[in-house]
């Protein structure tokens, strides 16, 4: 197969490795080293996309990251990726690409009717002015239509099979961009001994040097010099070279994000390779060498396929060995346009003529062009092109001394090149919060005052030309290395010959003679923003460039204004009659070019999205068929269904069996903190509402913790192991918060106390054995502890052994039954559990989960922090005033309890609710009202916090927070539901064994 526009020789593609790919279903040949763009051009394919609003046919504008037009979808199935720039897609054998935003086909797109609408109808912001009547039509008619036209590509339809990875990296000098300036900077910095990372978003390092034809460096071609330099850097162990690595963001304290593409360019990558790696680089010093972006011209129909940036055409011929056309017209306002013309001519294209916008056409470029026999017309502009799907010709105009344009000749051509000058890529500098300065002479923004440890070199710093960029790059690299602590000198600058140094440039709309109503001259190609749109925005009062941006959407497309922002600014500045720097720039934000979501997520994916915390006896529960629930990061056994049981049946059985005999429950997730030190009791006094000084070693107490605002924050049973040692338990979810809260007070408020906190949550497996037979189960297993009722009363704690394993044995109950909590070192958790379970079988022991635990505690009226409380609840609201050490002068939260609102009589208080019909179960979260059908807008009295079917009570039970609830006991209230209110009676929130007779046995 033969690509018709491939040059006979030259370029950096590997002609020994032919490849085949498809675009819109048609198969084409290409070479290794091609981009999709270069390969399409080699095959004469110019029409590659459709624009956003008008669906205009679009071709390749550029050869790089700035491409606004050639967005394609690549790949299949889960690997389909929309909106990729053909200029950045590397070719591999079998690549499948398709065009976007067109129907039914790229050549014939129905959406193009938008382009035929009366001129100006769909101008900037028109949608703010219409679609408002009749009311409701926006939602039902207009918005659905607008949404259908939205978007460019199609989102993937299947989950992404690839994976992504991260790496933190550190270096003395990070160099971003590996063109002349970046390579030089890396050489200088590495030469000084600095650890260097050099990153470039392209597949090959060298930047603009790879697109050079005429220039030589130290006697070799520029690209050969680049190769040599890269090889030297690669050989240096202090240098990390990253290709296909876009630096997308510059964050505080010299922290930069780089995303490296690892597999997209390969046809069958190793399956273990991640698709992309995000580098998170902390650099001591940074050199920005990100080059410059060529500006297109804004003239009528400047968007037709075949209208291209001059530098892009140069890249296609020189780097890829592709002729982007046969007959080229070069439209320039910069010396670099001539370099392109010369290169195209030497590649065998006919250069019809060079239209030079500037009045003077006698610079080095023009002289060289004329010497090569090319026609150069000064004061000449392109005022339009012919051809819809591909340029067929261009009309020229002459700028008179008064600035008016008179129509000139029409030339036949299939390529119109634009060389409107260079816009330094200051994105990263600006993101670093450096202050840009406006260079009046060249009318560009350049890096000004730095805010971080960085410097810019080369074209991104306004320094054009290879020689100058090399020199500046060396100096920047040396400076960076020096500042990073290395003795550095810039290497001697190599000898550069034969280059045409970019100089000149133009901003704003190109003048023309045509009826402005009838033509469209594009500023933002992708978003279809025209010069007229920008002028309209200004006319409508959008005086800030930020308003212009948002009203017109200029610069908001996926290229983020790389080719349009400066043009838009120039046109707005003109319309406002204010110089550009006074109009200002919009903000540069990350990313420089779009970055895959998956790359941000990295390995935080699937089950590794968050750690899964399992208890020491998790596997046992799983083997028993437990259903688990997520509590924070923990998996907790929720219930243990037997064959055929649903949750309700399982819970009913579990609860009954606990009360009838005995149950076993995994309490390991409870937070545990060991509070140790001579001032431990005093610390506890200050952090908990309860008094602790008099609690004897070996005894436990229910502790209530408030935040400083007086609201309940946590609770738990706390055992005193020794005068100076407490074993504190917290709620599962509250554990980290409670420890942090304690540390805060300890380190910053109560610094007088000698006490230390150690988290022991995971040290102990906690096996709760609850039920009238609990003692019988444990007795045979426990050594060295008398667990008889007399020796070990309720709320006590002993140390000894169980099954030979050291234990802290608590006699506590969250069920209202006789109960123990066996704490054993976690590695022994499962063995002890199994021993207890085996012993328990003699008593028909049941394993129960968190759901039964909730029911059992609710039957007893025990609260759960986070369920009965919501951060607005005081101890008094819960009826827990008894837990407050009244004699204590202070504790965290005490002062707040006397604030006016916290002592109001009608506060919501915890009560029980019993439905009239015992079979009716209330819904947690349901509201409580005084009447069955409250008038809309009447405040609720409160809400149901817990509701269960209670096997012990033989009916449904509920707890609720109800305004003035304690005084309402006996009253009938209503719980309004969607299908009618449920009548309830207010009761005590204790539904079983109110005297606690089952506990103390």
């Amino acid at each position: 197969m033969n690509a018709p526009f491939r040059t006979e020789a030259g370029g950096r593609v590997d002609r020994a490795r032919p490849l085949s790919f498809t675009f819109d279903g048609k198969s084409y040949p290409g070479f290794e080293g091609d981009t999709l763009a270069s390969a399409l051009l080699a095959n004469g394919v110019h029409l590659v996309g459709r624009s956003f609003k008008y669906h205009r046919p679009r071709g390749l504008l550029s050869a790089g990251a700035e491409e606004p037009n050639a967005l394609v979808g690549v790949g299949r199935g889960g690997r389909y990726t929309p909106n990729l720039r053909a200029t950045q897609v590397e070719l591999f054998d079998g690549l499948v690409a398709e065009s976007q935003n067109r129907w039914p086909s790229l050549g014939f797109d129905v959406g193009e009717v938008n382009d035929l609408a009366p001129a100006g109808l769909l101008s900037a912001g028109f949608y703010y002015k219409t679609f408002m009547a009749p009311a409701g039509a926006w939602k039902s008619v207009f918005e659905p239509i607008i949404r259908k036209t939205a978007g460019l590509g199609v989102a993937p339809q299947e989950p992404d099979p690839d994976h992504y990875t991260h790496r933190h990296a550190f270096c003395d000098v990070l160099v971003v961009g590996a063109g002349a300036a970046g390579l030089a900077a890396a050489l200088a910095a590495a030469g000084a001994g600095a650890r260097v990372i050099l990153a470039d978003e392209q597949a090959e390092l060298g930047g603009g040097l790879l697109s050079e034809r005429g220039a030589t460096i130290d006697g070799v071609e520029a690209s050969a010099w680049a190769e040599r330099t890269v090889a030297a850097l690669r050989a240096n162990p202090n240098v990390t070279l990253l290709t296909r690595a876009q630096c997308f963001g510059y964050y505080a304290q010299n922290f930069l994000g780089i995303v490296e593409r690892l597999t997209d360019h390969a046809s069958s990558p190793h399956p273990d390779l991640p698709r992309e790696r995000m580098w998170k680089v902390r650099a001591k010093q940074v050199v920005l060498a990100t080059g410059a972006i060529e500006r297109p011209f804004c003239f009528p129909d400047n968007d037709r396929p075949g209208v291209m940036l001059a530098s892009a055409a140069r890249t296609y011929v020189n780097r890829y060995g592709v002729r982007p056309g046969s007959r080229a017209l070069v439209f320039t306002a910069d010396e670099s346009g001539y370099a392109a013309a010369l290169d195209l001519a030497s590649a065998g294209l006919a250069v019809v003529c060079i239209a030079e916008l500037r009045a003077q056409a006698d610079g080095p470029g023009a002289r060289a062009a004329r010497a090569a026999g090319l026609a150069v017309h000064p004061s000449t502009v392109v005022t339009g092109v012919s051809g819809r799907l591909r340029v067929t010709g261009a009309t020229l105009g002459a700028i008179g001394p008064d600035g008016r344009v008179t129509p000139g000749q029409t030339v036949a051509c299939d390529l119109v090149l634009m060389a409107g000058g260079w816009t330094p890529a200051v994105h990263l500098f600006s993101q670093s919060r450096g202050k840009l300065r406006f260079d009046e002479e060249r009318q560009v923004y350049l890096p000004g005052v730095s805010a971080q440890d960085e410097r810019s070199a080369g074209a991104c710093n306004g320094t054009f030309g290879i020689a100058a960029s090399l020199a500046e790059g060396f100096a920047a690299g040396a400076d960076a290395a020096t500042k990073a602590g290395f003795a550095a000198t810039a290497p001697a600058t190599p000898d550069v010959k034969g280059e045409i140094v970019p100089a000149g440039g133009f901003h704003g709309a190109v003048p023309h003679h045509r009826d402005p109503q009838k033509v469209k001259a594009f500023v933002d190609f992708q978003n279809d923003v025209t010069a007229k749109d920008i002028k309209l925005a200004v006319r409508e009062g959008m005086r800030s460039i930020e308003h212009v941006k948002r009203y017109t959407t200029n610069g908001m497309a996926t290229d983020q204004g790389k080719t349009s922002n400066m043009q838009g600014l120039a046109i707005a500045s003109d319309a406002l009659g204010k110089p550009m720097p006074q109009v200002g720039l919009t903000t540069f934000r990350p990313p420089y070019t779009p970055v895959t979501f998956g790359a941000f997520a990295g390995h935080s994916r699937g089950l590794a999205f968050d750690p899964i915390r399992r208890t020491p006896t998790h596997d046992w529960a799983a083997a028993q068929g437990a259903v688990f629930e997520d509590v924070g990061m923990w998996k907790r056994a929720w219930f243990f269904p037997r064959r055929g049981e649903d949750m309700h049946a399982a819970v009913e059985r579990e609860c009954r069996q606990v009360r009838a005999s005995v149950g076993i429950f995994d309490g390991s997730t409870l937070g545990k903190i060991e509070v140790v030190g001579p001032d431990a009791a005093e610390f506890m006094n200050r952090l908990y509402t309860n008094p602790w000084s008099k609690l004897e070693p070996g005894r436990c107490r229910y502790g209530l913790m408030l935040n400083e605002a007086g609201f309940v924050m946590d609770d738990g049973v706390i055992g005193r192991l020794a005068a100076d040692r407490f074993h504190v338990t917290t709620t599962t979810g509250g554990a980290p918060r409670v420890l942090a809260h304690m540390e805060d007070y300890l380190q910053t408020e109560f610094t007088d106390l000698k006490v230390w906190l150690t988290s022991t949550t995971e040290q102990w497996a906690v096996i709760a054995v609850q039920g009238p037979n609990a003692r019988k189960v444990l007795e045979p297993l426990v050594e060295g502890i008398d667990i008889s009722a007399a020796a070990m009363p309720h709320m006590s704690l002993r140390e000894g052994r169980i099954c030979g394993v050291p234990t802290r044995l608590f006699r506590v109950s969250f069920t209202g039954e006789l109960g123990f909590e066996v704490n054993v070192p976690a590695d022994y958790g499962q063995a002890v559990w199994e021993a207890v379970w085996a012993e328990g079988q003699k008593h028909d022991m049941v394993a129960y989960g968190t759901e039964s635990m909730h029911v059992l505690r609710a039957e007893k009226g025990y609260i759960i922090v986070g369920q009965e409380t919501d951060g607005t609840v005081t101890p008094n609201d819960l009826g827990l005033d008894w837990a407050i050490g009244k004699a204590k002068p202070d504790f965290v939260g005490k002062r707040s309890l006397t604030r006016p609102d916290l002592v109001k009589a009608d506060r919501k208080q915890l009560v029980g609710l019993l439905t009239e019909d015992p079979a009716v179960l209330l819904e947690e979260g349901a509201q409580v009202a005084a009447v069955a059908t409250p008038v809309r807008g009447t405040p609720a009295l409160g809400h149901v916090t817990s509701a269960y079917r209670s096997p012990a009570a033989g009916r449904s039970i509920a707890m609720a927070l109800v305004a003035g609830g304690r005084a309402r006991k006996g009253q009938t209230l209503y719980v309004p539901m969607a299908n009618g209110a449920i009548a309830v009676t207010v009761t005590d929130p204790i539904f079983f064994d109110p005297k606690g007779e089952r506990l103390d046995v």
């Binding site: 990726t81 929309p82 909106n83 009366p118 001129a119 109808l121 028109f126 703010y128 219409t130 009547a133 009311a135 939602k139 607008i146 939205a150 978007g151 460019l152 989102a155 993937p156 989950p159 992404d160 963001g249 964050y251 505080a252 998170k280 309209l536 006319r539 009062g541 005086r543 308003h547 948002r550 009203y551 959407t553 983020q560 934000r589 990313p591 779009p594 979501f597 997520a601 990295g602 935080s604 089950l607 999205f609 968050d610 629930e629 997520d630 605002a709 007086g710 951060g871 607005t872 604030r899 006016p900 609102d901 916290l902 979260g925 349901a926 509201q927 009202a929 807008g937 809400h943 969607a978």
Partner: protein
């Protein structure tokens, strides 16, 4: 000029040369009856309603930058009213009702799109909390319904409701009247409306000082465009409230945090609604232009930088990719930050201050865009009458003394 399809056609035929400025850009007068500090949505709406409903025409809005350039211009535009406490329900529902007719009211298409806001529950606790909201809302006549995972997926087909995932979806609360609006249009629409009623909107005019007379009452403002005399100031400066209030010697219960958001590249519609997950911290919707609009929680430290850390975007997107696995290959187009002023109870402060003549509307934190019309409406009343509207009566500064907090965070920890 009234906006309509007809005027668009007429103007298009005339080369779009006849469109007037949408709002005037006058220089400040030496004195006004009242000055609103802050030209965000809330400030502009306040001025609009002060002029329209309270007949105050000699008033100004002063804005330090470009109007709408604060959080109004950088928020993820989620609108809903299914809050928990009655006070909040009243305020946000008031706003939602105004949203429903706002385009017509302003003759400016703010693209309020009632596409439904779905909040995902991932565990038992979430279910309890969201059901509590559903019930509370129903009592107040606010729509909010409970969905099974399957119903949630039917509403948003790209949602992953598989059971075996790290945080499976166990249900969702849906407010169908919730949705989004075009944020810039809200600022511009109110500005145009206010300007037409005579309000002076003064951009690039930063307030640098607040003058008080011997009695302590407000007497004027200093700005970068000169001094302005006035006896009534309404501060609606969002992230900068503490800074402005400090000029009057008032300390506030506020902290200003960076809040980031991001958009993807635009794609054809894949998502018909707004989805929020508080438990795994992310939310997403798709704009009419096609980009996915994504956000999460604030950065951890106070800042006025309008930027934030890379790790925040990472955590946001890892959550998004778990909820919607088909978007993992999509790409972030732009990531920005705003500065949100956060109160201890995550509810706004709207009302009088200890300084006579000085009123404040702030503390909307991460979720005030949705309140814009309602907030402006009740604050206009507050500034014009010197006392709060019944709807904002509870949102006092004094509640931090009495303890009468309106704690949306404690109850649900749902942002936005």
């Amino acid at each position: 000029m009234k906006f309509s399809a007809l005027t668009i056609l007429r103007q298009a035929l005339a080369g779009n040369l006849g469109w007037p400025e949408q709002w005037r850009s006058p220089e400040p007068k030496p004195a006004y009856d009242a000055v609103i500090v802050g030209g965000g949505g809330h400030g502009l709406a306040t001025a609009y309603y002060m002029a329209k409903e309270h007949g105050m025409r000699n008033i100004a809005v002063v804005e330090r930058g470009w109007l709408g350039g604060g959080n109004t211009g950088r928020n993820t535009t989620i609108i809903r009213s299914n809050y928990l406490w009655e006070e909040s329900e009243g305020l946000y529902e008031h706003a939602l009702k105004l949203w429903e007719g706002l385009s017509q009211e302003l003759n400016y298409n703010v693209m309020y799109s009632a596409r439904g806001v779905m909040m995902l529950a991932h565990n038992v606790h979430d279910v309890q909390v969201f059901k509590r909201h559903v019930h509370a809302n129903r009592l107040q006549g606010i729509d909010n319904e409970w969905l099974t995972p399957e119903q949630a997926k039917a509403f948003c087909p790209i949602l992953n409701i598989e059971k075996g995932i790290r945080y499976p979806i166990v249900g969702a609360a849906l407010q169908r009247r919730g949705g989004t609006a075009r944020h810039d249009a809200v600022a511009w629409g109110y500005a145009r409306g206010a300007s037409a009623l005579g309000v002076d909107i003064i951009q690039n005019c930063e307030v640098t000082g607040i003058d008080r007379d011997a009695s302590g009452a407000v007497s004027g403002l200093r700005t970068t465009k000169g001094d302005i005399r006035t006896r009534r100031i309404g501060v609606v400066a969002a992230g900068h409230t503490s800074v402005v209030m400090a000029m009057a010697g008032v300390r506030m219960p506020l902290e200003s945090y960076p809040l980031q958001a991001l958009v993807s590249e635009p794609v054809k519609p894949i998502m018909p609604c707004v989805v929020m997950s508080n438990t795994i911290h992310a939310y997403m919707s798709q704009s009419d232009k096609g980009e996915l609009v994504i956000g999460a929680g604030t950065d951890a430290y106070t800042s006025y930088s309008q930027t934030g850390g890379l790790h925040i975007a990472s955590h946001t997107l890892d959550a998004i990719c778990e909820l919607f696995p088909v978007v993992r290959r999509m790409r972030m187009l732009r990531n920005w930050g705003g500065i949100v002023d956060v109160t201890p109870d995550r509810s706004p402060i709207i009302g009088n201050t200890p300084v006579p003549g000085l009123f404040v509307n702030c503390g909307w934190g991460t979720g005030g865009f949705k309140a814009t019309p309602g907030s402006g409406h009740v604050f206009a009343h507050t500034v014009a009458r010197g006392e709060p509207h019944p709807i904002n009566a509870a949102f006092t500064l004094d509640r931090f003394r009495t303890g009468r907090l309106i704690d949306e965070a404690a109850a649900a920890a749902v942002a936005h």
